[in-house]
């Protein structure tokens, strides 16, 4: 989501890299660019002002002036400030010493509260807790039904207003405790109706619900696409019910998500979770440090490793490593690895997390059809061909193309790419820092193969 922002910084800093020391004028130019980038990313004007002032102050300080690589210094400063603005450390839900723990979700209409409630229930359940969903959104038609459906899918009970009873969210919330006790549930997740922060009547109702449930965590659900308004929304909700944290939704789009920066800065409460997709499992803890790295174009390596660990089979990986060392990485191995990678989710998302990706690739949507085509091409080769692609001459190419329903150009392209990568692998295995094709950079911290 912050990709475009990091592109921007890429531009500024690559220009800076060429120069020696940072002069006052340089700092002003950088500050202007950063300001523009942040504004285009929907960071609130006032938040931007404070942010820029801090950057300038520090950039003019001794640490930069004495540094031999001022560009690096500025990146470091911006990074640190971003991490700080985004929240310092990653937050966690507070657990009540006296169960049940109560989580209340509030926010504007359409910010994604009901979906977030379902996703949170799934996450907590996977951690061994027993959540109860409470449908206190009695405004939107079928909101209760939506939560019921989610509950059924997750096998989590949903507490709703009694059939034919008075539709009062406060009553629903009140009776939720008995229901939780009856069902032996230790976390209660209350989904409230969406409301405008200036709607006095509905804000009063929200306060009444809060008073009844005494939430351990009052969370504001914010759409990552929100503009300047995010600040007003956050401060009004904070004033009304006292927020403990924020859930940022829909960050799987291309919104730059400046709202995250604004909300954190203004309300001073951590962003706890992010909604990263349409499926119920697309819900992750928020990591400010990773997000800041992403903003600066350093990629999101840590998230990537976590995903990889979940998806990869250790023994297979060890076998592949062995082959790699010996420089025997074949198309078969490539196919295996590709399938492993696909387990980690859409390739486009993974590419976004990789450091040093060229811009064209970072934004590219790789549709699964393309992967299927690659698979088809490799599967149309004989085992001997997969081991040694140099066997593949003109007529074999034609056969492979026909067999896979592709063109010989497609086959050629794949073989060419594979060769490049194979060479790269060899040099890595040889302990050298790989020479990458134009436009690709490995992150500075990435070592060669150990041992």
């Amino acid at each position: 989501m912050f990709d475009a922002l990091s592109d921007r910084f890429d531009g500024i800093f690559s220009r800076m890299r060429g120069r020696g020391r940072l002069g006052e004028a340089d700092i002003d130019e950088v500050a202007r660019e950063i300001r523009l980038a942040l504004l285009e990313a929907d960071v609130n004007v006032r938040v931007v002002k404070g942010f820029i002032a801090r950057i300038k102050e520090r950039a003019k300080g001794a640490e930069v002036a004495k540094s031999l690589s001022p560009a690096q210094q500025v990146i470091k400063i911006v990074h640190e400030e971003l991490v700080e603005t985004l929240g310092g450390t990653s937050g966690k839900l507070a657990m009540s010493p006296k169960p049940p723990t109560v989580v209340m979700l509030a926010g504007l209409q359409g910010s994604g509260k009901t979906t977030a409630a379902g996703k949170l229930a799934r996450l907590l359940k996977s951690q061994g807790l027993q959540p109860l969903l409470v449908a206190a959104d009695l405004q939107r038609p079928a909101a209760v039904e939506q939560l019921r459906v989610l509950g059924r899918r997750l096998d989590v009970p949903v507490h709703t207003a009694p059939e034919g009873g008075v539709a009062d969210p406060v009553e629903v919330a009140r009776s939720a405790f008995d229901e939780a006790a009856r069902l032996g549930r230790n976390v209660v997740i209350v989904d409230t109706a969406g409301r405008l922060q200036i709607d006095a009547a509905l804000m009063d109702e929200l306060r009444a619900v809060r008073d009844v449930v005494q939430p351990t965590n009052s969370l504001l659900v914010v759409d990552a696409m929100t503009g300047q308004e995010a600040v007003n929304v956050a401060s009004a909700f904070d004033e009304a019910i006292g927020l403990d944290g924020v859930v940022l939704t829909k960050i799987d789009g291309d919104a730059r998500g400046g709202a995250a920066l604004s909300v954190k800065e203004v309300v001073g409460k951590p962003i706890l979770f992010v909604g990263t997709g349409e499926k119920l499992e697309d819900f992750e803890p928020f990591h400010p440090d990773r997000m800041a790295s992403r903003i600066l174009g350093m990629g999101d390596v840590l998230s990537l490793i976590e995903k990889a660990e979940a998806a990869f089979d250790a023994t297979e990986a060890a076998a592949a490593e062995e082959k790699l060392r010996k420089g025997q990485f074949t198309l078969d191995d490539f196919l295996d690895q590709m399938q492993q990678v696909r387990k980690m989710g859409p390739l486009g998302n993974i590419m976004k997390m990789l450091p040093g990706m060229p811009k064209e690739l970072r934004g590219a949507e790789v549709d699964e059809g393309q992967l299927a085509r690659i698979e088809a091409i490799i599967r149309s080769m004989t085992p001997a061909e997969r081991r040694d692609p140099s066997l593949i001459g003109g007529s074999r190419r034609l056969r492979i193309a026909k067999g896979s329903g592709t063109s010989t150009q497609d086959v050629n392209a794949l073989l060419k790419q594979f060769k490049v990568v194979q060479q790269m692998m060899r040099s890595i295995a040889g302990g050298k820092r790989p020479k990458l094709p134009a436009g690709m950079n490995l992150p500075p911290g990435m070592p060669g193969l150990p041992g």
């Binding site: 039904e145 993974i350 990789l354 490049v420 070592p447």
Partner: protein, 381 residues
Amino acid sequence: MNSALVLTLILLLAVVLIVGGLVLSRRSQRAAGPPASPPIEAPTRPPVAAPSAGPVVAEPVGEEIPAGETLSPPVAEPVVEERPRLRDRLGRTRAALAGAFTGIAGRSTVDDETWEELEEALILADVGVATSTRLVEAVRERAAVERITDPGALEGLLRAEVAALLAPGDRTLHRAPSKPTVWMFVGVNGVGKTTTIAKLAQREVGEGNRVVLAAADTFRAAAAEQLGTWAERTGAWLVRGQEGADPGSVVFDAMASAQTRDSDLVLVDTAGRLHTKVNLMEELKKLRRIVDRTPDALTEVLLVIDATTGQNGLAQAREFAQAVEVTGVVLTKLDGTAKGGIVLAIQAELGIPVKVVGIGEGAADMVPFDPEEFAAALFGD
């Protein structure tokens, strides 16, 4: 980092490099050579229903729920009731901007800071940096030409610029020459597509039209129920499918149903989707193709945008326009303090006009967009 992790990364890189290289080379081929093969018929969301045989043979998966007995006597009386005016509803916005202007008007001369403040006020309204700069530049030029030195006069100039920017564009909701007319509603998740349809359905039914609501959002849990509730309340017909069914089949059924029932208007509610999801955008194109089989029926493809949306609204408009030829924007939730300034950027950069504005919860709170009023309301009159 242990070696397994390093390896993992390298292998990942390998895969990404190869696949990425192919993507890029395909792209450049596409850019240079003849148009590549027709777009792959994208798989829809996680397959839930039995493999759909495509729209051609779409058996009515949907059941039709006639809207109770309320059909002949329309529920709502003809909407002559007082429509709220845009200006009244924009009062809060006005206040926000007016604050900036009183500050400016209080100055004695126009200097750089004045211009900066003007620009900032626009940015705070989500107009965006580029469009704000453009507007302020225009005002600056005029002020120079007309030798305006009174900061207080700047407001009038800016207001004129905003109105001029919004002036072009066709704002009518068009009808097909023969029945039925189809309006399709698209947008990202949570912007208020279903509510917008409900409001328009109420108005249309109230004006004596026979309206079919097509619940083509088969993805979100209970989306069809939500639209069904509205169908009952407004006295429109609902055509829906099973949850997870092919939305194409719902649209197909809705079209068939509209023809047999001699309906005037079909409102197609599509699932919210982020414009970056290629598959889902392909699905949307498919829905459009199904409607387009009835020539000239589809007269409006309306992009619903939430007034709180920031600069991403521009990307949304661009992508949706490219996929399904958006004819206009519906700006929703303008009853808060959000300014909806992004529509200025959308009009300026893409030339897509705002056609309808949603300013409240009631069914009557749907008003035509009027640039003069919008500008006037923004700056007070």
